[in-house]
Structure formats: structure tokens, C-alpha cells
């Protein structure tokens, strides 16, 4: 079974600074997807970024980028030029290719300080 670990329960950073959220996972699979989801106070789950394990290039979406280290089973999220709207819970998630089941980590609560 797959497990996803987020070792930082809470983080805070000043507005406009850069912050990195950590995620590690454990799997014996070689083909899979990794995701970062954002959950603001409204509780809506919003996809931030996804990474296919077969791609060596790290995914980027505007101010959001990942550092995917497949051998180390590490998948960190970097938020650049952080904004007040980035305040939210952030969940790392894993999906095995061909399987519809998402496995989530326990989340990191990120607070952006004005």
C-alpha cells in the first residue's frame, strides 16, 4: 500500500517570500502521478499542480513549482512570491497509474503573513 507523509503540520511565511512544503511517499510502483491540492478556509479542494512520475522535468504552474526526486521519493512544492490568497491547507497526494484511488497526506497548514 502507498503512504504519503507531510512532516510539516504548519508553516508561515511573510507575503512575497518563497516557501517550500515537503512531501515524501512510499511505493513500489514505477508509474504513478503526484499531486498538490490546496484547501482554503472555504474547504473547496483545488488542484495546484500535478507531476507524472515518468517525466524527469519538474512541473511548474505560474508561481508554483515542484522538486520531484523519484529515487528519494520526495515531492516538494515551492511557492514563489507568496500572496495572502495562498493561505490554506496543502495536501500532497499519490495515484498509481491505472488505479483511481488517490492517497492523501495529512496536510500542511500554510499561513501567509501580511
Amino acid at each position: 500500500a502507498q503512504t504519503v507523509t507531510q512532516s510539516q503540520p504548519e508553516m508561515s511565511v511573510q507575503e512575497a517570500e518563497t516557501v517550500t512544503l515537503s512531501c515524501t511517499y512510499d511505493t513500489s510502483e514505477s508509474n504513478y502521478y503526484l499531486f498538490w491540492y490546496k484547501q482554503p478556509p472555504s474547504r473547496q479542494m483545488i488542484l495546484v499542480i500535478r507531476q507524472e512520475a515518468y517525466k524527469q522535468q519538474n512541473a511548474t504552474e505560474n508561481r508554483f513549482s515542484v522538486n520531484f526526486q523519484k529515487a528519494a521519493k520526495s515531492f516538494s512544492l515551492k511557492i514563489s512570491d507568496s500572496q495572502l490568497g495562498d493561505t490554506a491547507m496543502y495536501f500532497c497526494a499519490f495515484m498509481k497509474l491505472g488505479n483511481e484511488k488517490l492517497t492523501f497526506g495529512t496536510g500542511t497548514r500554510l499561513t501567509i503573513i501580511p
Binding site: 504519503v4 504513478y32 502521478y33 499531486f35 472555504s42 474547504r43 473547496q44 479542494m45 483545488i46 488542484l47 500535478r50 507524472e52 495536501f91 497526494a93 495515484m95 497509474l97 491505472g98 483511481e100 484511488k101 488517490l102 492517497t103 492523501f104 497526506g105 495529512t106 496536510g107
Partner: protein, 114 residues
């Protein structure tokens, strides 16, 4: 498009009562999911469906039932509510299989069993 809608937003149940959580999507998505989120935890998959008439168990199906008679609707049934089912329930949908497709989440239903 309204996206994924869930009703009710909040409900209090007594132990042993039953209820149905409603989920509807208007995006003509084939895949639909039910998750629960316990305090301080990530989401866990309860059941999912790959199309009308087809459902399958997720990680935590005990105590729940689902049906999928139409593409749009995917209700979740609790037959004998227990305090352990106190949680926030999220419904999600996506168009086709695979991790390359984004799951769209509803706003959640908060359930309290006393």
C-alpha cells in the same frame, strides 16, 4: 456550469439514524468519488464510480452504500449512523480515467453524529 454540488451543507444526526448525502455534477463526467476528511487528516476514498450502474469500494467503505443510476448523480447512504462517521464528506468528479485528468471537488458536507 454549477460544477459539483452537494447537499446538505451541514447535518446533525443521532446515533442509529440514516441519511443520504446528495452529489450532482453537470459536467457530464463519467467518474465520481466520495471522500471523507476527518479533523487534521487528508481525504480518504469511500466509494467511486466509473459510470452509471458501476461502483467500487475505496479505502474506507464500511458503513456506507452508494448507487449510480444516472451520470449526474452519485448519492452516499449512511444506514446506521455512528459517532465514527462524524466527518466532512466531499464528492468529486472527472471526465475520464487516469491521473492526467483533474478531479473537481464539491464544497463538502459536514456531518456530526451525536
Amino acid at each position: 456550469n454549477a460544477g459539483v454540488t452537494q447537499t446538505p451543507k451541514f447535518r446533525i444526526l443521532k446515533i442509529g439514524q440514516s441519511m443520504t448525502l446528495q452529489c450532482t455534477q453537470d459536467m457530464n463526467h463519467n467518474y465520481m468519488y466520495w471522500y471523507r476528511q476527518d479533523p487534521g487528516m487528508g481525504l480518504k476514498l469511500i466509494y467511486y464510480s466509473v459510470g452509471a450502474g458501476i461502483t467500487d469500494k475505496g479505502e474506507v467503505p464500511n458503513g456506507y452504500n452508494v448507487s449510480r443510476s444516472t451520470t449526474e448523480d452519485f448519492p452516499l447512504r449512511l444506514e446506521l449512523a455512528a459517532p465514527s462517521q462524524t466527518s466532512v464528506y466531499f464528492c468529486a468528479s472527472k471526465r475520464i480515467a487516469g491521473g492526467a485528468e483533474t478531479q473537481y471537488f464539491g464544497p463538502g458536507t459536514r456531518l456530526l453524529v451525536l
